[in-house]
């Protein structure tokens, strides 16, 4: 019978994970494997992911690919699956400790943040930064990693990659939760502009939030004076970079993660050989329409080439 591979994403509404799933499905079809997929009900939903691991094991999956919603809470369930002879590979986000899974194909969210931080510093060119951050929502590790990475990259007081709290140096004048959502990002930006009309740099958790922020800035007539940086690298996002709405974004590669994961699963089913353990960085590329000195970036053509979503 064809090997069974399970894919568990954080949600099935975030385009990032939807594309990851599509990539995995395409790869599975190509390699002749059966892909089962599932997702948490909301971001951070550990309980559903645990149930999915169990159900996939029951369904005969020999390899499970997971984007852990909670890097620590998922570990006991992973251990149980491994005890049943299943290979577990983390995608996108690491577990804590990272060694709990057989391998990790991921992007470094802290690093992604650092890149746009560095870019923003150069783009502002010595102007005193007045920063607004549109974060994810309370308690989410990816939200903290990107946020803290961004501040680190800018050279401001920040927190390490392991922290789940958001650093708030004096330069950050306003923080709002966007839930990674366009409408909420727009509302957050509007409120921040009321608080401090002098904001000249906006960090956003992802590109939909960035698009919302741009809407708000445009309505206030400030879109020209403010630098927006973001993370993700979806096609809509890259298009926004090309259009000058977003200054730069850190591009990540969900399709690649998925493809590598599925390939490893098929390999394990056929040969019984587990994937090389440890961390495989699927890479982050800084995409910017206008390169700045001292920071390596790719242009939007490269970005569009490798972007995920509808090109």
């Amino acid at each position: 019978a064809e090997p069974v591979i399970g894919l568990i994403t954080k949600t099935d509404t975030n385009p990032f994970f939807v594309k990851m799933k599509e990539g995995a499905e395409a790869e599975a079809k190509k390699l002749g494997a059966k892909l089962l997929s599932g997702a948490g009900k909301i971001d951070g939903d550990n309980a559903s992911q645990v149930a999915l691991i169990e159900n996939f094991v029951a369904a005969g999956a020999k390899t499970i690919l997971i984007t852990p919603a909670d890097s620590k809470a998922i570990i006991p369930a992973i251990k149980k699956a491994q005890a049943a002879g299943v290979q577990v590979i983390a995608l996108d986000s690491p577990t804590d400790p990272a060694s709990a899974v057989d391998a990790l194909f991921a992007t470094n969210n802290y690093k992604a943040g650092e890149l746009i931080g560095q870019y923003a510093k150069a783009a502002l060119g010595g102007k005193k930064p007045v920063i607004a951050t549109l974060d994810l929502f309370p308690g989410h590790p990816v939200g903290a990693q990107r946020h803290n990475g961004f501040l680190q990259g800018y050279g401001l007081k920040s927190l390490p990659a392991t922290s789940n709290e958001l650093a708030k140096p004096a330069e950050v004048v306003c923080m709002a939760d966007s839930y990674g959502d366009r409408a909420k990002g727009q509302t957050g930006m509007e409120n921040c502009l009321q608080k401090n009309p002098g904001i000249n740099l906006v960090y956003t958790i992802n590109e939909p939030a960035a698009a919302g922020a741009y809407n708000a800035l445009k309505a206030a007539g400030k879109e020209k004076d403010v630098v927006i940086v973001s993370v993700d690298g979806g096609c809509d996002g890259v298009k926004d970079v090309a259009a000058g709405k977003i200054a730069a974004t850190s591009q990540q590669y969900p399709l690649q993660m998925a493809a590598m994961g599925v390939a490893a699963g098929v390999e394990f089913a056929k040969t019984g050989k587990k994937v090389k353990s440890g961390y495989t960085d699927t890479g982050v590329t800084l995409i910017a329409a206008k390169p700045v000195a001292g920071v390596t970036s790719a242009d939007t053509k490269v970005g569009l080439d490798k972007c995920w979503g509808n090109k």
Binding site: T13, P138, M175, A183, N310
Partner: protein, 316 residues
């Protein structure tokens, strides 16, 4: 005949509004400005219009969990149809509103014809609308949106303050609904059905038709909210609508409408909606971090209803 409904919590949201405004006014510089208030109104217009539909349904002792997801589906349908088939915006908008109305109608038919509890029906259609939204959009944001669909998000100037057309539409719809509920026979029947459905049936009012009408009308309002969501964000967003049901129900309850039906005022919902918007705006201006915002919102919601309840006791 003066419209003396028995006392309902109308003070609650207003007291909360005043307290919140006072605190924000004292602790922040920019809160008290017409620009800021105009902004808050824009931020609440989608939930505000969903809240009208939700109020109607709650007045009949029902509840609608599907409202937000149906709204999201509506905005995907109208934007995607316009994008894929190049249909003129008005037709695409009507089709979108048609879909949300259809969902309302289905809810209404299940509630009346098969006598299912509204909670479970709309939980079902919540899931169904979500799935259809995801499948039809391919989980992709629709970015090519005709200008006519975003017009309501644009602003005009009134005494130096920029006001969005959508805000005006919201207020108008509230006033129309208020008039309808208060001054027409069919509006009073909505109250009667919620107050005592069996009596209303025996008196000879077609209760089923009233209910179906209410659910379908709510669907129309969700469709208008779809359009406003598109106008506000400039895209068709398949991830929208997931929390709007709780938001809208909160606004309705905060506005003093009873979840047991038959008692309430639609204008209270407007006040309830604005309270939530003011809180979010003011707390952000104060620089309160988001966890504390959640905490404060939780406490304030309870305090608002408590103050209202106690003040009404005193008045008796």
């Amino acid at each position: 005949m003066k419209d003396k409904l028995p006392p309902i919590s109308q003070l609650g949201p207003f007291i909360a509004l005043i307290i919140a405004c006072a605190v924000f006014g004292l602790t922040t510089d920019n809160f008290f400005s017409s620009a800021n208030f105009s902004l808050i109104l824009q931020q609440v217009m989608v939930v505000g219009i969903i809240g009208i539909g939700q109020t109607l349904i709650i007045l009949t002792a029902g509840i609608d969990l599907s409202c937000g997801m149906v709204m999201a589906l509506g905005s995907i349908v109208m934007t995607k149809i316009a994008q894929d088939f190049g249909l003129p915006a008005p037709i695409a908008i009507l089709l979108g509103i048609g879909v949300t109305t259809l969902f309302g109608l289905i809810n209404g038919l299940l509630v009346t014809r098969i006598k299912l509890p509204p909670f479970i029906v709309t939980l079902g259609t919540f899931n169904i609308a979500f799935a259809i939204t995801q499948l039809y959009s391919g989980a992709q944001t629709v970015t090519t949106v005709p200008d006519a669909m975003t017009w309501l998000g644009s602003t005009f100037s009134l005494g130096g303050t920029r006001i969005a057309y959508g805000t005006v539409l919201m207020v108008l719809l509230y006033l129309v609904t208020w008039f309808w509920l208060r001054d027409t026979a069919s509006g009073r029947h909505v109250y009667a059905v919620g107050n005592n459905p069996e009596a209303t049936r025996l008196i000879g009012i077609p209760t089923d038709r009233v209910l179906i009408g209410v659910y379908a009308t709510a669907g129309v309002f969700y469709g208008i909210a779809s359009l406003l969501a598109v106008a506000r964000t400039g895209v068709g967003d398949p991830n929208a609508g997931q929390t709007e049901n709780l938001d809208a129900i909160t606004a309705v309850v905060l506005g003093g409408t009873s979840l047991f039906g038959g008692r309430g005022l639609v204008l209270g919902t407007l006040a309830g909606t604005i309270v939530v918007g003011v809180l979010r705006n003011g707390l952000t201006l104060m620089g309160v971090s988001s966890v504390y915002q959640v905490l404060i919102t939780g406490i304030l919601v309870i305090v608002a209803v408590t103050v209202d309840q106690l003040s009404r006791k005193g008045a008796r």
